[in-house]
Symmetry: D2
C-alpha cells in the first residue's frame, strides 16, 4: 500500500474548539482509513507563549502569532478556523484565495452579508479544487446520521412536525461573568447562533428540507453581567462580586421560533425551535423530533448514542424503539468498538475530519458547504428580523 | 357521625366524558370524606333508548331526553355538562339561572363572547351560593398539583421558561373518519381547544401567572376526511374507503405558539406551546416543563405518576429527580393506595369531584372558576387571531 | 337483553386488600359486560362498629362479625377472602364445602400442607360447579397480560433468561413499627411470600413454564422493631421511640434465589429472583424481564402501562420498543379510555373480578386456580428449604 | 516547566484491547498533566506483517514478534499485556522480574494459582519500585468513580443490597462462530471471567467491601458452535452453515450468583450478580445498584454518563436523581469538555493510563493492584466451585 499523501493543517485558535479539532486531527487516521494523512503542522494565536504551550499540549509541530502568516506558508494545505465568528470571513476568504482548503467553525459568520462573501469565495475556490466546509459537527453524531438515513429511506413517510430544542443552563446564574459569547460584536448573536444554529442545520439536514419562513421571539433575561478580569483590563481574575463593573449583554439569552419547511417532494413540515442557556438542569439537551406519516424519530444529545424510532406499521404493538446506535452497520460506528460501547462528544469532530479529508481526497465538495451554512445564516437573520417586528412572519 | 346531605347530580351527555364523570361521582365518596353525598340522580340524552342503556351501565337512577327537563327537576342540585362545546353556554346559563350548581367540561365555550356570558351568569349565581367550575381535570393529577405546590413554595425561584406540549397521534392516519371534533361549528377549534386548552390552563395554574400575549401558527394537514355513517345518514357504518363521501375539516390539526406571562411578582416567563394530533407515537403526551432561577420541573402525562424536579442548590451533584408521586403527603394520594401504587387517568375526574363537592359544601368558589376558564378562552382567541394575522404578536 | 343474574358477594376483611376488592366489585360491571351482576351483599369483620363503618364507606349492604356466619347465609354466592394468610385455609375450605365460590388473596396459604388441603377442597368443589381462584392480581395488569400473549405467539422464541425483581423500601427505616406482616405465624414469610410470590406467579404464568428447582439466600436486616400500640395492648398509638417495647421480626426482609424452569417445549430457562422491602427509592418496582432466542420483554410496575419489547429480527436497527399498552387491542384496555390514557394499580383488581365472574358465568375454571397457587407455594417452600441448607439446590 | 521524563511502553497484543490501550496512551497526555510522558515504543505480535500494520495504524514506533524480546529491550519501561488470559502469568512475571512496570488486562489470570504467583511477583517487584496494575477499566468511568465517592462520603449509609448485572447479547445467535473466548483453556471462563469479573471488581471497589461467600449457577445454552476458518485451519473464512465443523464450548454462557460482603464497618451487604451474553437487546448493560440505609445509587453503562442517586432525606419528595456526570467537579471530567458533553467507552482506558502513570510517577502502588485482582479471581473460583457443587454456599 502506497503511503497516503500528507494533508498539512494550520489551525487558528486553540480554545475549546481548538482542543476538539486537534483531538480529531490526531485521532481520525488511527481509526479510519483516510486518502490523505493529516499532519498537525502549525497553530496560530496572538500570544506566542500561550500558543507554544497549546501547540505542545495539543500536538502541533509549530506556532505562528498571526493567522496571515499561516496562510502564507507553503507547507500548509488546509486552514482550520476555530476563532469567534467576527473573524471567520476575513480568515476564510484569505485562505481560500491563497488556495488553502478551509474548515470553518459554525456559525459561518456574524451576518448574511459576510456569509454571502464567504460562499462566493468558496464557490470560486472550488473550481480550482480548493474545498471548504462549515463545522456543524452534530451531523456526525452516529444517531443523527442514522436519523437522516431513515428519512432518506422513507421510513418516516412525509414529515409533518419538526420539534427542535437546544437547552443548556450555564448562564442561569445571573452572576456568571460576561464573556465574548454575550457580546454581539464578537459572537453575532446569543443562544440563537451558538446553539440554535446547530438545531437549524440538523433539522434541515436530517429532513432534507429547507426552512422557508419563521415567526420568532427573542429574550434577554439578564441584561448586565459582571466583567471578568480579561474583559476589564485587570490583567487577570476580575472581581465578580456585586460591586464588580458590569458589562452589557447585547445578545439573546433565549430564542423561540416557529418555522415552515419547503417539503422536498411532500407538502412541507411545520417546526418549532427553542434555544436557551437558562433551562436549569438541561446541560446539553440538543433534541430533535420528527413526526411523519409513517413514523417518528427522536434524539437527545444527552443520550447521544440512542435514536428513538416509532414505526406506525407495528401498531397496535408499536412504540418508540430505543436504538442503541452502536452496531457496525450504523454510520461511523464500525470503525470504533464492539456493539454497545458508546461514543462521546468529541467523536463528532473526528468524524468531521474523516468526512472532510475523504471528500478532499476524492475531489468532492464536502458537506455542509459554505452555501449550506449560508442558508442557516439566512434563517438566523430571519429569526432576528421577525423578533424585532412583533413576531410577524418573515420569509427566509 | 351525621350522614352527609345529598348532592343530587344531573348529567348531560354520556359519551367518553360522561363515562369518566360517572365513575368519578360513584367513586369519590368511597375514598374521600365529602361534606355532601353525591347521588347519580339523572342523565339526559336525546335518544331515550340509548340514554336508558347508558344510565343502567353508568349507574344513573333516571333518564331525561331533554336537558331542559333536567334543569326543571326539583330533585337535582347540580348540572354536569359533558356535551360538545357549542352547547355549553346555553345549558350552563340556564342551569345557573335555575339555581343549580354547574360543572362544565372544557373548553368553557366555543367563543370568548359565550364564555363572557357564562362567566357573568356564574358570578351572579355565586352571590346566591350557586357554584360553578370548569372541568380542567389535569389540574387534579397529583404530579401537577405537586408541581404547583413546589412553585408556590418558591422551590423554582422566578420562572423564566414554560415549555408545554400536548402531543397525540390519533388523526395521523389521513383516512381516519370525520368527527364532530373536526367541525368548527361544534368544537370551536381543533387541537387548540381540545388539548391546547389543557396546556394553557395547566401552565397558568402551575406557574400562577397569566399569559399576556402570543404569536401563533395553526396548520391543517388533512383538509378533508371520509364521513362515517352517522355523519352521512347511512344509518350505521359508513364506507371509509377512498370513494366515501368526504367532509371538510374546519379546524386546526396542530397549533404552535409562543407566549409571554405576566410574571406574578417576578419579571414574567416566556413560553412555547404546541398541540397536535399528528405526532405519531405520542399517545397522550401532555407535557409541562418549567425552568426557574432555582430549579426546574418536568411532567409528562404518559408517565403521569412522576414529577421530575431539578434543584440547582444540589450542584454539582444536581440532577432531575424522578419523584414517584405516590406518597401519602402528596396531593390526593393519601386516600388511595400504599406508596408506589400508581393512579390512572380517571383519578383526575374523581379528584375533580372531591374538590368541587368540598368547595360547595364549604360555600367556597371552586377552582377553576368560569372566570379562570374565560381567561383560557381569551388565550385561545388570541392564538387564532395571531395565526390569521401572519403570526403577529397578539395581546390577550 | 335479559338482566344478568346476581352474584352475591361476601367479603372477609376490609383493610388495604378489602378496599381494593370492594372497588373492583363496584366498578367491574360499569366498564365490562359480565354474565353475572356482582352485588356487595355483606362484609365480615370481628369489630362490629368498625365493620359497619367499612361497609358504609366501601359500599356493602350488610355486616357480619363472624366469617362463619357469612358462609351460612343463603344469600351469598361467593366468599372473597382478604385476611392474613394464616386464616385462608380454614375460611376457604369451609366456604367451598358450603358450596360458595371463593376468591382468596395470595399467597394461598402459609404452608404447602394448607395449600394442598385447599387445592383438594377446590378440586372437589369444582366437580359441583363451585369455583375458586387465587388473587394474583398482577396477572391482570394489561402490560403483563400482553407479555404473556407475546410469549404464546412465539415472538420471543425459546426463553433462556428470566429476571424478576420485586423491590420496595417501606421497611428501610429500622424504626418503622412491627406489623403482622413481620410475624411468621400470621404471614407465613416476609418479602418472599408477600411480594416474591407475585414475581413467581408472574414469571411462571408469562413464560408458561414451571420452576423445578431453586438455590436461595434469605436475610433479615432488622431483627427487632418497635411495637405499635395495637400489638402491645396500649389501646391506641404506641410509643415508637427507642425505648418502646420491641417485637421480634420472624420473617425474611429480603429473598434472593436462582431458579430453573421446566421449559415447556424448549430447553428451560434459568431465572434470578430478588424480593426486598429495603431497596431505598424503589417503591413498587415489580419487574420482569425475559430474554428469548428471538426477542426480549421487560416490565416494571413503576411504569405499569408500558411493556418493552425487543425484536431481534429488526437488527441492526433493533431496540427495546416502549409499547404504551393503552390500545383497544390490548388486554382489558378497550373497555376503558382512549389510547394513551393510562390505568392505575386498582385496575388489576377490577380485571380480576371480570375474569373471575366471566369464568363462573361460563362454568369454566378461573385462573389461577388453587392448584396453580399451590405450585407457587411449593416454590416458596423450596426457597426456604434451600436457604436453611447453605443455599444447596432444592427441587420443587 | 521541565519536560516530563518519558515512560516507554511495550504492548503485547493489538486486537480490541490493544486498540483501546493505544488510544489511551496517545491521548492521556493531551488532556491531562502527567508526571511521565508515555511513549508508544514497541508492540509485539507473532505475525510480523500484521504487527507492523497494527503498529502503523495505532501509532507504535517499532515491532517485535516475540514478547520476550520486548522484555529484554532496555528502552522499554512498562509492559502492557493485552492478550488472552492464558498468557498473562508468564508475561507479567517475566516483565516484573525484568524490572518493567506492568499493566495487565483483566481477568488477571485463568486460575487462582496463576494469580497468586503473579501477585507474589508484583509484591516482590514493588519493593524495587516496579509497579503493576490490573486493567479493570470500568473503575475509571466517571459515574462509577463518583459512586465510590458517594459511598466513601457516607451518603448511602450502611449498604444492604448490591445488585450487579452485566448483560450482553452477542452470543444469542446459536450460529455465531466459536472464538477463543469460548475455549476454557484460553479464556479461563466464559461470561463469568469476561464480564462478571468487571461486576465483581466494581461492586467490591465501589462499596469498599469484599465478597466473603457465594452460591452460584452456571449455564451453557449453546454447547457447540461452528468453527470459523482460522480455528479449523481453512486459512480464511470458514463455512459457518449448519454443515460446518463445530467446536465444543467449554465455558459458561451465563453466570448467576448470590453473595455476602464483609461489611467494612457495617454489617455487610448481600448481593446478587448476573452475567450473560444471551440477554437479547442488552448490548453492554453493565449495571450496579446499591441500596443503603440513607440512600441508593444506580448505574448502567448503556447510559454511562449518568449516575442515579436517591437521598432518603429528601422524602417525601425524594426520587432517583439523574446526575449527568459531566461537571468539572466530577472525577476525570474537568480535563475534558464543558458540562453536558458526555464521554464514551474509551475514556475509561485513558483515565486508566492517567491513574497508572500518576501512581508510577509518584512512586505509589497503583490500584487495582494484582492483589486486588487476585481477590476477584478467588471470587470467580468460588463461583465455579459452588456451581459444580449443587449451588452450595462456598466461602471465598
Amino acid at each position: 500500500m502506497t503511503p497516503a499523501q500528507p494533508l498539512r493543517v494550520g489551525m487558528v485558535g486553540y480554545a475549546f474548539m481548538g482542543a476538539a479539532h486537534s483531538h480529531a486531527w490526531r485521532t481520525a487516521p488511527r481509526f479510519f482509513d483516510l486518502p490523505l494523512q493529516p499532519q498537525l503542522t502549525a497553530v496560530a494565536g496572538r500570544n506566542a507563549e500561550a500558543a507554544r504551550a497549546a501547540a505542545d499540549k495539543l500536538g502541533w509541530d509549530s506556532v505562528e502569532t498571526d493567522w496571515r502568516r499561516l496562510i502564507e506558508r507553503d507547507d500548509i494545505d488546509l486552514i482550520d478556523i476555530c476563532t469567534p465568528g467576527d473573524t471567520h470571513a476575513e480568515i476564510a476568504i484569505a485562505a481560500l484565495e491563497a488556495g488553502k482548503h478551509v474548515l470553518c467553525e459554525k456559525p459561518l459568520a456574524n451576518s448574511v452579508e459576510e456569509a454571502e462573501r464567504m460562499t462566493l469565495a468558496a464557490e470560486t475556490a472550488a473550481k480550482q479544487g480548493v474545498m471548504s466546509m462549515c463545522g456543524f459537527s452534530y451531523r456526525r453524531t452516529p444517531a443523527l446520521a442514522l436519523a437522516r438515513r431513515f428519512v432518506e429511506q422513507g421510513r418516516l413517510g412525509e414529515i409533518r412536525h419538526v420539534r427542535a430544542q437546544y437547552l443548556q443552563d450555564w448562564l442561569s446564574d445571573a452572576n456568571a461573568p460576561m464573556t465574548w459569547r454575550l457580546d454581539k460584536s464578537k459572537s453575532g448573536s446569543g443562544s440563537l447562533g451558538d446553539i440554535g444554529a446547530h438545531s437549524i442545520d440538523a433539522a434541515q439536514w436530517v429532513t432534507g428540507q429547507s426552512i422557508t419562513g419563521v415567526s420568532a421571539l427573542l429574550e434577554t433575561f439578564v441584561p448586565e453581567r459582571p466583567l471578568a478580569g480579561d474583559l476589564v483590563g485587570l490583567g487577570g481574575h476580575g472581581d465578580l462580586s456585586g460591586d464588580a463593573p458590569r458589562g452589557k449583554v447585547t445578545v439573546d439569552d433565549a430564542a423561540i421560533f416557529s418555522a415552515k419547511f419547503d417539503g422536498g417532494a411532500g407538502a412541507g413540515a411545520i417546526g418549532v425551535f427553542e434555544a436557551t442557556r437558562y433551562a436549569l438542569g438541561r446541560k446539553n439537551a440538543m433534541r430533535l423530533e420528527l413526526n411523519g406519516t409513517k413514523g417518528s424519530l427522536a434524539f437527545d444529545f444527552e443520550d447521544m448514542n440512542v435514536l428513538s424510532f416509532y414505526d406506525a406499521a407495528e401498531s397496535p404493538d408499536a412504540g418508540f424503539r430505543k436504538i442503541f446506535v452502536t452496531e457496525p452497520e450504523h454510520p461511523y460506528v464500525g470503525n470504533w468498538w464492539p456493539t454497545g460501547h458508546g461514543l462521546g462528544y468529541e467523536h463528532g469532530f473526528t468524524h468531521q475530519v474523516v468526512d472532510l479529508v475523504t471528500a478532499i481526497g476524492e475531489g468532492r465538495q464536502p458537506e455542509p458547504s459554505f452555501a449550506d451554512a449560508l442558508q442557516v445564516q439566512r434563517v438566523l437573520a430571519a429569526v432576528e428580523a421577525s423578533a424585532t417586528n412583533s413576531s410577524q412572519w418573515q420569509k427566509v
